[in-house]
Amino acid sequence: MEMSRPLKILRDITAVFVTALFMFPIFWWALTSIKPISAVFDKDRVNFFDFTPTFINYGVTLFGQSRSQIAIDEGLGMGVAGAEAYDSRMSILESIIVSIGATTVTMSVAVFAAYAISRMTFRGRGAYLNWVLGQRFMPPIAILIPLVSIYKVAGMRDTDNLYMGYLGLMMIYALMNLPIAVLLMKSFLDDVPKDVDEAAMIDGATRWQTFCKVVLPMVKGGVAASAVLCFIFSWTEFLLSLFLTTDIRTVPVKIQTFVTSTGNEWGFIAALGTTAIIPSFVFILLVQKHLVRGLTLGSLKE
């Protein structure tokens, strides 16, 4: 329907306003991360831009500067203990390791399953598909509690063996992302006509060669999109990491430790929070095109 000019302008203004409203928390978060403490805890008024930007918060959380030393240098007189507790470099590294590991595991099992579901006819195909889908429906808490006991017996807790701890966390992240990866890859593979496979196999290629040399290169974009989504979901995961590991602290869990009994370190929280958001933002812009498909497990295409 054609809209009149004033209506169009009104719509533009509303659209910008609504988007700005949704962007405000992110803006406020980033702003908080460069505020000095006094500006964050300003009880007299809401402080928007009336402060001297500082990068202390990033210095402490990302560059390992000593919190107490900075406090002394700045003459703030609050050189308290717990300087190392805010250094988050290790957590970021741990998050990256676990996310990449989990994504690798998920994708390397998912593409094969997706190929079989998409291309082969076999008994139990529907049941298998339901099994994968059922995994998506399961609240993680249902398997988390026994998993802690199982990991304890198997020596897969990070307090017993750090490497096994990483493996344990990766595997459970991989499991949680598996349904998305399988169903998404299936939907991408379904887009490739079956004639392609048949043509290749008539030319003498084996099933394996057809998959590796013909079909897989045709769904490269789909593999990348699925992998990126798996990475994002692993990167943002909180519950599993909170329950399963103690020494390994992924970023979302690490941030929670800045909430202390003597008060929340909002500057550090915001600095690490902003840092945690950035990789997600970069990745999401890469998969914009396949986002709807990914979020609906391949059932809706844009």
């Binding site: 808490i141 398997i143 909180f238």
Partner: protein
């Protein structure tokens, strides 16, 4: 030549793989994912079911087989019912707000005009923030003494001075819901937008010729034609909402008291609190059962196929 001789002549290998291990058979393709799902999914689930039949003696920390202890305890546990109620309220309200807001914003941003693509891209950003970080953001903004949102509401005279939204049992859930709705409305926006784009043009052209109003078009055409998309969105969002944990854990830690306790957060509280694993497992299992039953019924009624 006999068949056996042909085979013998063709294969110079030392051994031949059993048929089910060859690439022609689906087994090797399906096995790795199935193994992952069995070891880390089915096994813990069976373990959880087993666990729910045991009673943990708080004093001796010994497990005693007692089939109905946890399940009957759960039925008479008021906190479970409170948690179930909170979970349902949380899921229902969040779904309603996200659906309506999502649809409205999708209609608003679905335009070919210049700049709208950027707005749409920006709109997806909240989706990928770690929920635990979102919860922190809103914890800061809702702080009673220096939070920007609280202060805004106080300045407008909507709240008394120094009122803490998250610290008050009546409003805490609303505060948590605010974070949830902010983060996941973009999910609905994206899906609705995809739905709007997939609609055929002809019925709308016909309606325009017949002189239908915008409201008529929306309720008589757009909405019915979007029903499948909406059902998928409700299903996916619903199962995620029902396991609500992150926002509740970070923003209120199920409090004040049990005002924002959900099923998952209650199970977590038992787990971290008095370490009664069997009982925590039982509650977690009940959550799973409810999700399976409700979503199966939903998929049957609305004929949703994922």
């Amino acid at each position: 030549m006999t068949e056996a001789a042909l085979k013998g002549a063709g294969s110079t290998r030392l051994f031949v793989l059993p048929r089910f291990l060859t690439a022609e058979h689906p087994f090797p393709w399906l096995f790795p994912a199935a193994a992952l799902m069995t070891i880390f999914g089915i096994y813990p689930l069976v373990y959880a079911i087993g666990l729910s039949f045991f009673k943990k003696n708080a004093a001796t920390r010994k497990m005693v087989l007692d089939f109905d202890h946890n399940w009957t305890k759960m039925l008479y546990d008021e906190r479970v019912w409170n948690a179930l109620f909170n979970t349902l309220v949380y899921t229902g309200l969040a779904l309603a707000f996200q659906l309506v807001l999502g649809m409205l914003i999708a209609l608003l941003l679905d335009s070919e005009r210049k700049g709208y693509a950027l707005l749409r891209a920006l709109m997806t950003l909240p989706l990928v923030i770690p929920p635990a970080v979102t919860a922190m953001m809103f914890l800061l903004m809702l702080n009673g003494s220096f939070g920007v949102l609280s202060r805004g509401l106080i300045a407008m005279g909507l709240l008394p001075v120094g009122f803490s939204i998250l610290g008050n049992a009546d409003t805490a859930l609303a505060g948590v819901l605010l974070a949830e709705i902010w983060q996941w409305t973009p999910f609905m926006v994206l899906i609705m937008m995809a739905g709007l784009r997939s609609l055929p043009k002809e019925p709308f052209e016909a309606a325009a010729i017949d002189g239908a109003t915008a409201f008529q078009v929306f309720f008589k055409l757009t909405l019915p034609m979007m029903s499948k998309v909406i059902a998928i969105a409700v299903l996916i969002r619903g199962i995620d909402l029902f396991r609500a944990f992150d926002y509740v854990k970070v923003m209120t830690d199920s409090g004040p008291g049990t005002a924002t306790e959900t099923l998952t957060s209650y199970a977590g509280r038992i787990y971290f609190g008095n370490a009664d694993f069997p009982y925590a497992s039982t509650i977690a299992l009940m959550t799973l059962i409810i999700v399976i039953v409700v979503s199966s019924v939903f998929m049957k009624i609305f004929k949703v196929k994922l």
